[in-house]
Symmetry: C2
Subunit: 159 residues, 2 copies
Amino acid sequence: MGKIKLDEIDHQILDMLIDNTRIPFTDIAKKLLISAGTVHVRVKKMEESGIIKGSSLMLDYKKLGYSFIAYVGVYLNNTSQTKFVLERINEIPYVTVAHITTGKFNIFCKIRAKSTEHAKEVIFLLDDIEGVYRTETMISLEESINDKKRLMHSIFKNL
Amino acid sequence: MGKIKLDEIDHQILDMLIDNTRIPFTDIAKKLLISAGTVHVRVKKMEESGIIKGSSLMLDYKKLGYSFIAYVGVYLNNTSQTKFVLERINEIPYVTVAHITTGKFNIFCKIRAKSTEHAKEVIFLLDDIEGVYRTETMISLEESINDKKRLMHSIFKNL
DNA sequence: GGTGAAACTTCTAATAA
DNA sequence: TTATTAGAAGTTTCACC
């Protein structure tokens, strides 16, 4: 699980794919002045090494009817139950990310729901998990996803 | 910005693309017993309507040397500064998401850094923004991204 | 490591139903 | 709206640097 070294070409390939996963390898090849075969081989290597875990669509959840976002902090009766509760939490599809954290909460997660009513149901699901003492919810009024992912990735090169 | 209705075919196309954005349209067509041309037209429509905002790679940030994740709650001197501060926060590449929230914090964001040392620098950048009163950091000891994205999406159908 | 070309597969737009 | 079709475009492999 150590750090893997990529060269400049790999980073540039990643930058382009991060931006648009369906960009043709021939386009990448043209921009980087290498052959399409090379792009193919390098992408395959990054997939095999696990650096590229997969690809996914960025969807407009609001347009799909999911406009409610909240963060929920979870207090447990006992820290030893953390792993068990985390597994139960991950079974709830409306929970998009969950973390074991330092600080006041044992677990901290993000939920995405259809409405406040629906969010209430999801939070009740969390509260009902065995070992959960209580939860604390923070509602998001506005989400801004940092679109500088590509830029951020470029900075990796300076590591 | 209203909700857009998709039919069963659209949802199934989305499910497959969410799983792997580079799956050939011909494969999707075969599985759904429609033509590749139809898949092409439908995907184009979902792109045009904004439901599909784009595509991106899922990378293993640990393998890229970014193993530190934290959530930072931001208190402002004055709520009227929220928009301004949010813009400054979004200029920091290591901030991956930022929210305007209800509750004790005015803004709540997620950061991804190389190390605790690096995270400290990022948090100092946040603290230095004009209008920020103080910050409160919660360190993630373990992140588990809900891999049921596809399942979650399927549930959209029942809306 | 990389290339370039061949063989194969997929995309895409026009046309037809 | 969807299907068919066909030329254009992209992918992938491989013999050879």
